[in-house]
């Protein structure tokens, strides 16, 4: 019994120390696989989530940046958010609502925020594109904080899309990124075996 207790506590300690809570995402995204072995960096990522139906969500790390971003957006687009709502935004996760509905999103409780059916996604059509300003301002905010030495790196832009997402939805995101001059980004993929290594092609 003592041995079992020892082992179980050892494992417990291990899992506690390595634990990093799964980021809560409002949509389940089944990413396609590729042979790329580059790992996603721990921090400083700006994730564009695209679900099966092509709804776009946005998530970024860093409370300071998020706060800075939302106060920029608030003054730029007159969203009329209170200080308290902006603080809330800085600790929440991925969002997928048009700007006008952001207030409603902030007022939701956590289980409502996990339900993707509540959200229409961020508009990314060429007319009334809101995704572009969000990403652009987020990068600016992160850059500014980096200059001030608060965050160590600039944002790495990652696109996490479901493998069944129709291409036109992806195309909208790619066009938006190219419009705001984001030419380097990353696609999140699962690992699959490289045939060159396994078969010696």
């Amino acid at each position: 019994m003592t041995a079992m207790c020892d082992v179980s506590f050892l494992l417990l300690t291990f899992f506690m120390l390595t634990a990093k809570a799964k980021p809560q995402e409002p949509v389940v995204v089944d990413t396609p696989s590729s042979i790329s072995e580059t790992k996603l960096p721990e921090s400083g990522t700006l994730t564009i989530l695209v679900d099966k139906e092509g709804k776009i969500f946005l998530d970024m790390t860093g409370q300071h940046t998020r706060y800075s971003l939302i106060s920029d957006m608030n003054s730029q687009y007159q969203m009329g958010l209170t200080e308290e709502e902006m603080k809330k935004f800085s600790i929440f996760g991925a969002f997928g609502v048009p700007r006008k509905d952001l207030r409603k999103w902030l007022a939701m409780n956590s289980s409502e925020r996990q339900n993707a059916a509540n959200f229409p996604g961020i508009p990314a059509d060429s007319v009334g594109n809101e995704l572009g300003p969000w990403i652009h301002n987020a990068r600016l905010a992160q850059f500014r904080l980096k200059q001030e030495g608060i965050v160590p790196e600039e944002y790495v832009i990652v696109l996490k899309a479901d493998k069944d997402t129709p291409y036109p939805a992806i195309q909208k995101v790619l066009n938006t990124l190219s419009d705001i001059n984001v030419n380097k980004f990353n696609l999140i993929t699962n690992l699959e075996a490289d045939p060159n290594k396994t078969q010696g092609l």
Partner: protein, 214 residues
């Protein structure tokens, strides 16, 4: 939890002459603690993401390209992939009198097509020297093959990633993601009609959209 009893030394067994203290275990019952420990282990195991996801870096060209950025290529060095519905890939070589063929994303399908084209390009034109992106300052030999990837509206995201992946597996140095043209959509619907897409239109399409993956 732990019970430590002091043996009553005064108690004597009937008829027994010797005084023997009762042996009692000083062990603690660990079962509840182990239960709790395993419960916590299970919780942390389930909430932990041990494997970090992989990423595939993509580089697109600037939106505005200058004359200097334009690299001329030969028609016979170009392979166009049209990613269609139901995980099908249509492909044609060059532009003039192009013949449409289709394949799939399996190792026997698209990979063979690309490797075959690459071999033919090498036989005809040889390889070319180019800056090695991994070791700056050094040159390496790369294929002259140019692959244009054009997803149709019916294709899904997986097809795009698979196509990029295939470029990496077959070591194609130059590939571009472009928007599909109406002429090419018509070509898929009616392959016998031939591709009504001139070289000039192709160049214009590239300059207009210019999305280059590398």
């Amino acid at each position: 939890m732990a019970e430590i009893q002091t043996a009553d030394s005064g108690a004597r067994k009937k008829g027994g002459g010797k005084v023997r203290s009762k042996k009692l275990s000083t062990r603690v019952d660990l079962t509840p603690m182990v239960d709790l420990a395993f419960l916590l282990i299970t919780f942390f195991m389930l909430t932990t993401t041990l494997a970090k996801p992989q990423i595939m870096p993509v580089v697109m060209p600037e939106k505005k390209i200058t004359e200097e950025d334009v690299v001329e290529t030969k028609e016979s060095q170009v392979l166009t992939l049209l990613l269609g519905a139901d995980d099908k890939v249509y492909y044609y070589e060059g532009i003039t009198d192009a013949k449409l063929d289709s394949t799939d994303f399996s190792a026997e399908g698209l990979r063979k097509v690309i490797l075959d084209k690459k071999r033919r390009v090498k036989e005809e034109w040889g390889d070319m020297e180019r800056e090695d992106p991994k070791n700056p300052g050094q040159k390496k030999m790369v294929s002259r093959l140019n692959v244009l990837i054009k997803p149709t509206k019916e294709s899904r995201y997986k097809n795009l990633v698979d196509a990029f992946d295939e470029m990496k597996i077959t070591n194609v140095a130059m590939y571009v993601l472009l928007d599909i043209s109406e002429q090419e959509e018509e070509f898929i619907r009616n392959p016998a009609g031939g591709l009504k897409f001139s070289v000039e239109e192709q160049i214009e399409a590239i300059q207009k959209t210019t999305k280059k993956g590398q």
